[in-house]
Symmetry: C2
Subunit: 321 residues, 2 copies
């Protein structure tokens, strides 16, 4: 009898929920379990929730050997030591040796990395970046995270804090970011920034904003990044103008990324990432003005393979040799 193929257990830890799943060596998700995460409770309650999600997902293994457990968590964290440092979204854990605790509880090799790095690795191994030596991944949502996989390995930098791509500033006189810097791409092009720009435009041009406002129940404060995307898909000109500006900002940012790293492929994940992937032709066009690389146009821009499963797949990808 052939030895059964190993499977990996990927755990996607968030501020409010924890999801776990079995993933095979081809990156296919075989099972999913989801539990609430008591992120503001005590450290051991949060650990218990992670362990319960692991057990629930592991139940689907049925005889297949689970080779390792991967943990994807909000940062900052130390991937080398497997220690969660002080994530704003998980205040229960401070300098918490999460990987070691899970290793002890489940008696399996355990790896930890931040959510963007893990998702980047899943895309590089199994997804839109497969087959490339150098994969730059960005996840666009309420924030902008990034990861860079070079030769199959996440680029961690000196302490594991590298590739905080969302905090590259494109304008030192730009809007203040939550991190304290000015003009970070996160402060300019993530969901809340897009929504804010649309809200300002709606206030200035209420007539042009009728569709946007209708989708937000008539309340400009309810305009979100999703609402802007929806309005644009319905042909709204104001939403298109806002997203055009977002595409320009992303082109400026990617221009600097390309001039520094010259990756072989660029992958966009996250909810806003899926929206901006529809703008790749515009981003590619504008990129010409924002890189000195004459062959930048050869670098493909691709939507991520993994959507809501990016965390599980990413965590599982950490387990691969």
């Amino acid at each position: 009898m052939a030895k059964p193929e190993p499977v990996y257990l990927g755990v996607d830890i968030g501020g409010t929920k924890v999801a776990a799943g079995l993933v095979n060596a081809q990156g296919k998700i075989l099972s999913r379990a989801r539990l609430p995460m008591p992120g503001r409770g005590d450290a051991s309650a949060a650990l218990a929730a992670v362990s319960a999600a692991i057990r629930a997902a592991a139940a689907a293994a049925r005889g297949r050997a689970i080779a390792a457990i991967g943990l994807s968590s909000p940062g900052p964290l130390d991937p080398r030591r497997g220690v969660v440092l002080n994530p704003p979204n998980l205040p229960c854990w401070r300098d918490y040796p999460l990987a070691e605790r899970i290793r002890q509880a489940h008696r399996l090799p355990t790896r930890l990395d931040n959510d963007a790095n893990a998702a980047a690795l899943a895309e590089a191994r199994w997804g839109a970046g497969r087959g490339y030596h150098s994969v730059f991944y960005a996840t666009l949502g309420t924030g902008i995270g990034a990861g860079w996989v070079l030769g199959g390995q996440v680029h961690h930098g000196r302490t594991g804090a590298a590739v905080e791509g969302g905090h590259v500033s494109i304008n030192f006189r730009g809007p203040r970011c939550a991190c304290g810097k000015r003009g970070c791409i996160e402060a300019v092009a993530a969901g809340p920034a897009v929504a804010k720009r649309a809200r300002l435009a709606a206030r200035r041009q209420p007539r042009a904003a009728r569709r946007l406002l209708a989708l937000a129940d008539g309340d400009a404060r309810r305009i979100t990044g999703e609402v802007v995307g929806q309005a644009w898909r319905e042909g709204d000109a104001l939403a298109a103008a806002v997203l055009q500006q977002t595409a320009e900002s992303l082109a400026i940012w990617l221009g600097s990324i390309i001039d520094l790293l010259e990756p072989e492929v660029i992958v966009f994940g996250g909810g806003m990432g899926a929206l901006m992937a529809e703008w790749f032709p515009t981003i590619g066009e504008r990129l010409r003005a924002w890189t000195i690389n004459p062959r930048a146009g050869e670098i493909p821009l691709r939507p991520a393979r993994y959507g809501a499963d990016a965390g599980i797949a990413g965590a599982a990808a950490l387990c691969l040799p």
Copy 2:
């Protein structure tokens, strides 16, 4: 009798001169030869000048075996194929297989890379970045070049065009760079930008600019980056204000470099680099506001070991295994 230590022949090719030298395995420069470079002549005249410089430097070898020849040239070029593409400073060479021609002429293994990458490698192997796994090098002069050495290897990227650090934009509304982008750190903080800022300040405040103007023979148009540095060393307040602003720009830029790459050490070379190295305390202080990395202060900022010899040492460093 012990086998004599190998030596390397490093060639620093510029638009107007070519310098060659023998370099030992510890990065010590053993000989130097310098010739004019007919960069606007024909391709074979330029090749002949490079070959003549190699022969002149090689004459000092006296029995020591020359292991290889390294060539440092202005870019753009393809380091993998050893081909010079279309350098503005060397219009005589277009898609020119320089490494192959030198290999044939001198019957030695030959490597080619651009000047900033080569100098970065020399600093990583033998200089201010020695002993570090990840070395970010910037050369500040009439332009800003950069190189990044990771695990002993220059990061080349997809086509060899990576780490064009001088063209990372810190302000997309900033001054137009020669490359066409706006707000590149080169357009803001290289020698000509510093000189321009000083000239503007001198025109606005001629009284405060007396020392600056005196050093420039009373002619604001003669204010250069060197003049600003000299005035500052003599205690001039206007020059200090200009350099303070330059330090701030460099801090903004390094903040993004750290947030992306998180190198282990940052090395400044070039004439303006030596000047700005005197501003490291200010740059380090301002850096805190421009990186989200809480441990960025642990990353040393260092002046380069090699000054005028950066090209020879860099080219020789390309020869090492």
